[in-house]
Amino acid sequence: MAELVGIYAASHGPLIARDWQRLPEALKKRLSAAYGELGRRVSEARADVIVGLAPDHWTNFFLDNLPSLCIGIGEEHGGPPEPFMRDFSPNPVPGDPALGHHILETALAADFEPALSYRLRLDHGLCLPLSRLALPRLPRIVPILINELEPPMLSYRRCFAWGGLLRRAIASFAEPLRVAILATGGLSHSIGEPNMGAIDEDFDRRCLGAFERGEEAPLIEILEDGAATAGNGTHEIRNWAVAHGAASGRGFELLDYLPAPEVYVGCAFAAWRLDA
């Protein structure tokens, strides 16, 4: 049977790639250390597959057709289209159709209604953290893209439920695979809104505190309020909520948090505690 070997989260932001050379040395050092520590842990977990929870930054989906949640079940996925991500490798990105299909079927059998895709393009949301983890070899990727840009969106309550579903789907997969989960996005940031560039450190710290303690009800309240006060980028914390649900709400270890106005993002890095 497959085994869930690690659950992680890391923020992303296009400027971390596009403007890297222009960022202050201290910020670069701290971001590198945080991504590096996460990469070390992911490597140690020896995952065969990473289930990547990410937003779609208007890459695959548009107002023509906008799924709330879409599972990538293809043999491969397209690499990032952004010019500042052109060095991402491997491109195309190998997928895992068998695990992807199993998650899809398990979801539908349990009254969840995901969309499916045989070929997603993975934008900087997932690929920036993946590249910064600097893994010796990239595991196969099963992407799960969640609509976090255009309201209305999945409720946070439902995101926790999706996490539980994901845990059960991985546990019931018949092959002896080692599977990790990587959530990307958040914390506070604001894009294309009047408070663009602002970071709400108070929100971020309350949010991280609730994740650390594993409390779901206060977390839902904090997260639902977040988009109004802490920017539209906080919608991406849905990925963290799914990861949290997959870890049975056991809480996480915060590896680092740095409000980084230079890249417009409250950047956080975490690894969840797994069942003993």
């Binding site: 930054h57 890459t59 010019p83 255009e150 309201p151 894009i191 294309g192 560039g197």
Partner: protein, 89 residues
């Protein structure tokens, strides 16, 4: 009624993620706009780079892509968003 998006404005913003389309847009804005049946008032707002007016009509990420593609520096984009929010609440 929730705030609805203007489809063709949003489509223009979406399409300007493509660097080739951006180059074309910077060369000949009118020629590119021919492909989008924008309402006259929306087209006028596009032509005068009216950040605040367009912000009310499309997704904030798409708006950001559009103005980045059209060459407006972030600082100016943000200042215009704030001025618009102050004027309209």
């Amino acid at each position: 009624m929730p705030r609805m998006r203007d489809y063709w404005l949003s489509k223009l913003c979406f399409d300007l993620q493509d660097p080739a389309r951006v180059a074309e847009y910077r060369r000949d804005r009118d020629a590119v706009l021919e492909h989008y049946p924008l309402k006259p008032e929306v087209r006028a707002a596009v032509l005068r780079d009216d950040v605040a007016a367009l912000a009310r009509l499309t997704n904030p990420y798409l708006l950001r892509y559009y103005f980045a593609a059209s060459g407006m520096p972030d600082a100016e984009f943000i200042a215009r968003l704030r001025a618009g929010a102050l004027a309209h609440g």
